[in-house]
């Protein structure tokens, strides 16, 4: 039986255990492109469409934590309570593909694919999210920074299902910015998430390195500077962000342009986040 369609998480985990080489299918927006272009010929597919436990999200007011099931589509993050708890994730979700792609594509798919251009990933890095995995031997949780190990590489074992991701509710301004060739329907050339959490500023960059890059030097520059940021400080913040990046030339852009773009995005986010009406 090559297409496995579990109806519960327990069954999904058992199927993953007995078929560790199966391609895990969430929304299909990554895997099906590869299949359509004959880049992949899957032998076994484990489709998570009918695993209801993965399709929910919760906001726990007591622990101030958001948990998002891996099969929650981006369209659900754009509006409503989830977007209020994590405004940067909502902004990132709105930049994913088109309405059709956002209705299908999931946060678990972004994690499973682990492309450096995955739109939600800089938010997870900035919010120091925890990735939750499950196998027949139990649950495993790890920081996102440890989960993503390289371009399209992660720490998931073949027998594990990504069940979701959890992170703190935003307790300060946060924003997401992305550069692409046009406004809709683009894979990012460079992206950035800035979260001004009460514990300190956190900046993460996408599409400018093999993994999502945290910028500790830039964060330290503004850690103890409340209030408005002038252009010189924003430029220095951007310069440190660019220095932390390690982009490459590829079919989507050049390393030089990505370095420039990410410095502008970081500086712009800092000015946006510190501008008080």
């Amino acid at each position: 039986m090559p297409v496995l369609i579990p109806r519960s998480l327990d069954v999904a985990v058992e199927m993953a255990s007995s078929h560790p080489d199966a391609h895990i299918l969430a929304g299909g927006t990554d895997l099906m492109v590869e299949v359509n272009f004959n880049h992949r010929k899957p032998e076994t597919v484990l489709a998570l469409r009918h695993v209801d436990e993965l399709r929910g999200w919760t906001i726990d007011a007591a622990t101030r934590t958001v948990h998002i099931g891996s099969a929650v589509p981006f369209s659900e993050m754009e509006h409503g309570a989830l977007s209020e708890a994590l405004p940067a994730l909502a902004e990132a979700a709105r930049t994913v593909g088109s309405p059709q792609i956002r209705a299908a594509g999931t946060i678990g798919g972004n994690l499973g694919t682990c492309s450096p251009a995955g739109d939600s990933l800089p938010v997870l890095a900035a919010m120091e999210a925890t990735v939750h995995l499950r196998s027949t031997s139990g649950e495993r949780a790890m920081p996102f920074a440890e989960f993503m190990t390289g371009p399209k590489r992660n720490a998931r074992r073949g027998d594990e299902i990504i069940t979701g991701v959890s992170m703190p509710i935003a307790d300060g301004w946060q924003g997401y910015a992305k550069v692409g060739v046009r406004n809709a329907m683009v894979i990012s050339v460079a992206s950035a998430c800035l979260a001004l959490q009460s514990t300190g500023p956190r900046l993460a960059l996408g599409s400018v390195g093999p993994v999502i890059i945290r910028c500790h030097d830039a964060e330290a520059l503004v850690a103890d500077r409340p209030g408005a940021v002038d252009a010189a400080l924003a430029a220095e913040f951007g310069r440190l962000a660019a220095a932390a990046s390690s982009p490459i030339d590829d079919h989507r852009s050049t390393a030089a342009y990505r370095r420039h773009a990410v410095s502008v995005l970081a500086g712009r986010l800092l000015q946006r986040g510190t501008a008080r009406p």
Binding site: L25, T29, V33, N36, R49, P99, Q100
Partner: protein
């Protein structure tokens, strides 16, 4: 290995036999179920000409693994008005000249129905956003937006 499964398309159970595991819903609709309304162009979710509804969500059928879409309500452009008459959206497309080569039209019609069913009075920005995943290389979109406006106005009048 060959796949056998049943899809529920436009309210009808349809058997799919001897298919390859990797076939997209678009391929199965067009080549196996004789429903060629959804069009295939980019095969990577960029053009929207294959838009169908799966459990009420407008998605690109080229990115849905057909064999995984069992137990889902699939609706295609053929099912909008099963008697073959034009819907108000299709009529507005004709009347406003929103169709040139016509290749993108079924996907756009599905996207417009999906938008207006959820939001009967969308802003111009909401319309543009809702149609941002449907590419038309002929019209320049002006007449498509005019058709959407015409449907909104007609439905508003009908509700009065």
């Amino acid at each position: 290995m060959n796949e056998h499964y049943t899809l529920r398309v436009n309210g009808v159970e349809r058997d799919v036999c001897d298919s390859w595991i990797g076939e997209s819903l678009l391929y199965v609709l067009r080549e196996r179920l004789d429903l060629p309304g959804a069009k295939g162009a980019c095969e990577q979710g960029e053009c929207g000409s294959c838009t169908v509804f799966v459990d009420g969500a407008a998605v690109c059928s080229c990115l849905v693994l057909a064999a995984s879409a069992v137990d889902a309500e699939i609706a295609t452009v053929e099912g909008l008005n099963p008697d073959g008459t034009l819907t108000d959206v299709q009529e507005a497309f004709v009347r406003e000249g929103a169709v040139q080569c016509g290749f993108c039209t079924p996907g756009l019609v599905m996207a417009v129905h999906h938008l207006l069913d959820a939001e009967p009075e969308p802003s111009d920005l909401q319309v543009k956003e809702a149609l941002s995943g449907n590419i038309c290389r002929c019209t320049g979109y002006g007449r498509i937006f005019a058709a959407v406006d015409a449907v909104i106005a007609r439905r508003r009048d009908a509700a009065r």
